[in-house]
């Protein structure tokens, strides 16, 4: 089996999907029979979509329009200026820079370490390999609260509370077992012959890894990159525990929490909060539309191959 065939089978999505929809299109009568299904699906879709529209709508309202009854979907006037006002209410530009910095380092660390470790588990025979692999998988089930306090104390002893170290340096130690698992599954599908051909040509293990293995698993690597970006961009928990004032040190998620706490005391300024929530989610939404397949494959693989 060549590598391409293997991935198509593993992903189970794209290739099979096309085939089955083609079979399913049995003409107009079949589609009519599916009418109740379409209605139910549309109801589900509405449920998924309405909150997004409400977020956008609220973000464009004035304070006075927030609580009118019945609710207005298209505010009049449309206040685009809310976005600028909300942005300037706190040092969000600095927070954005911090978030980009943290996300970039953590993402690189996760990708580099997870793919090396996965390569080790997939391709080499060493003592206790299977036991270590099971141990690694079982850490996926370890609640983060159990290790939270000692980890906090380690960073405190190292004098790195209120720095970006806890949010980034740990990524170099392959802290994402799920990513290792996904990548290992895919390294295993690469045909040995390709690898051996490279070794005959005089390549060492690391050259094989870099020039042969990584390019071949690029689709999964992308899926992992997308999930990793999402996880680090949204990392609220880490920021909450490790970062403190001044506000310029916050990342966006923590800034948003501060923002909502400071805005919700008297008259909650929901229009500003929704504007900021939308801006915070925007990169992820854009990335999602650019890399849908990677997002969806990334989470599917865990469920189907697991």
């Amino acid at each position: 089996m060549t590598f391409r065939e293997a991935t198509a089978e593993q992903v189970g999505g794209a290739a099979v999907l096309v085939g089955s929809t083609r079979q399913g299109r049995g003409g107009l009568r079949k589609q009519l029979r599916l009418l109740p299904v379409y209605i139910l699906l549309a109801l589900g879709g509405t449920f998924a979509l309405v909150p997004f529209i409400w977020m956008l709508s609220t973000s464009l309202k004035s304070q006075a329009q927030l609580f009118v009854f019945p609710p207005e979907w298209i505010p009049d006037p449309v206040l685009w200026s809310n976005y600028a006002e909300a942005w300037n209410a706190l040092p969000f530009s600095a927070m954005l820079m911090n978030t980009i910095f943290v996300t970039a380092l953590a993402m690189f660390g996760e990708l580099a370490s997870a793919s090396l470790v996965a390569y080790g588990f997939a391709r080499f025979h060493f003592p206790f390999r299977n036991a270590l692999f099971v141990l690694m998988l079982s850490t996926m089930m370890l609640p983060w609260v159990v290790t939270l306090i000692p980890s906090f104390i380690i960073w405190r002893v190292l004098g790195q509370i209120n720095t970006y170290d806890p949010l980034t340096v740990g990524s170099l130690f392959a802290w994402g077992p799920f990513y290792i698992f996904l990548l290992r599954q895919f390294f295993q599908t690469v045909s040995r012959e390709i690898e051996e051909a490279a070794i005959v040509d005089g390549a060492n293990s690391m050259q094989v890894f870099w020039h042969v293995m990584l390019p071949l698993v690029k689709p999964v690597l992308l899926a992992v990159a997308v999930l990793s970006f999402q996880g680090n961009w949204n990392n609220f928990r880490g920021a909450l525990i490790y970062l403190q004032q001044p506000l310029e040190r916050f990342t966006m998620p923590l800034g948003l929490q501060f923002f909502q706490a400071s805005l919700s005391n008297e008259a909650p300024r929901w229009h500003y909060m929704m504007a900021m929530s939308g801006l915070m989610a925007l990169p992820i939404i854009v990335l999602f539309f650019l890399a849908q397949r990677q997002f969806i494959e990334g989470i599917q693989l865990g469920g189907v191959k697991g």
């Binding site: 399913g24 589609q31 599916l34 299904v37 370490s113 470790v117 849908q292 969806i296």
Partner: protein, 334 residues
């Protein structure tokens, strides 16, 4: 700005330092093991897993032991921990009026969200698998909520569930609630209702991602199974019961285990939603308050271990039961 650059430079230097140290250690492992006479293959493999092995020891194994120890101490971070025996656990079991209500809330939340989310996403995935047109579009639409950060989801649903008549959910459901009372439902501000608010919100958040996973599982079911069943005259329900669900069981198993782990540990959402005064909160938030607001790290560690045991027991129960209901192709063939 210059101040920020300083912060970045400091972290960057530690980051690069750690990276260099890890690579050096990998290199040494490879060299050292080879010198000790290990096969080249084995030495290289062990060297490659060094980053994870180090991470495991520093961030998992060490902390597990440490947090177990802290749970038997009185520790406020500033002074050295003082061993107090079982006092934290005694407090947790009988001395803390806020603890058990939090346990109850968290358990009720998990018991509701996991099955509701599962049934909803299986139903949606089965419908999507009927050969509907535009499947890519539906899939995208359903998956969309799952990409939002949890705290944005929380803020958004707080807004949707505003307890006034003008709140979106309340105004849409007015014909229903006005039958029973003239005051609109309070949702997150009503102690009896907030659980449902959280359940609906979590359903919205995970439903799409789970649907997509189940859909992939459905696509993996060999088509000839259905064809054989049709020939034998099996109806739709019989096919779902005897083919779809058994074939899907490994996927469902994965979703249940991951769902339980996530639900018991829910944190971001409740932290962004102000609960009414006097209401219990979710366990993880309670732990955070005890540890990082009140600096009772010992007591917080005891709560962490309590949660750990709960999750372990629940996952083990699912694993145990799985032999009865999870069907693995490879085993059947054997």
């Amino acid at each position: 700005m210059p101040q920020q650059l300083q912060w970045y430079a400091s972290t960057l230097s530690h980051y690069v330092g750690a990276a260099v140290a890890i690579v050096a250690l990998m290199w040494l492992t490879n060299r050292g093991l080879r010198r000790l006479g290990l096969r080249g293959d084995a030495a290289m493999g062990l060297a490659l897993v060094v980053p994870w092995l180090l991470g495991f020891l520093i961030w998992n194994a060490g902390p597990i032991v440490a947090s177990l120890y802290f749970s038997f101490t009185d520790y406020n971070v500033l002074q050295a921990p003082k061993v107090v025996g079982l006092a934290n656990y005694e407090k947790l079991i009988s001395g803390d009026p806020n603890f058990w209500p939090s346990v109850r809330l968290t358990m009720a939340y998990s018991a509701l969200t996991v099955p509701i989310g599962l049934v909803g996403s299986v139903a949606a995935a089965i419908m999507l698998n009927q050969g509907v047109k535009g499947i890519g579009l539906w899939r995208t639409l359903y998956y969309l909520p799952a990409i939002l950060p949890a705290f944005v989801t929380a803020l958004l649903w707080r807004l949707m569930f505003l307890p006034t008549r003008g709140g979106l959910v309340n105004s849409a459901t007015e014909p229903i609630w006005s039958l029973f009372s003239d005051k609109p439902p309070g949702w997150f501000l009503d102690r009896d209702m907030l659980l449902w608010g959280f359940v609906i919100m979590s359903f919205w958040g995970v439903f799409g991602a789970n649907t997509v996973i189940v859909l992939a599982g459905l696509k993996n079911i060999p088509r000839d199974l259905y064809e054989a069943a049709s020939v034998d005259g099996a109806g739709v329900l019989a096919r779902v019961r005897h083919i779809t669900l058994p074939q899907l069981s490994p996927t469902l198993f994965y979703l249940i285990v991951m769902g339980i782990i996530a639900a018991v540990q829910v944190f971001d959402q409740p932290l962004f939603i102000q609960l009414p005064p006097g209401s219990p909160t979710f366990l993880n938030v309670y732990l955070y308050q005890q540890g990082f607001t009140l600096f009772q790290m010992g007591y917080a560690s005891a709560i962490a271990w309590f949660m750990f045991v709960i999750i372990l027991v629940l996952t083990l129960a699912v694993f145990r039961s799985s032999t009865a209901w999870v069907y693995y192709e490879s085993e059947a063939k054997r």
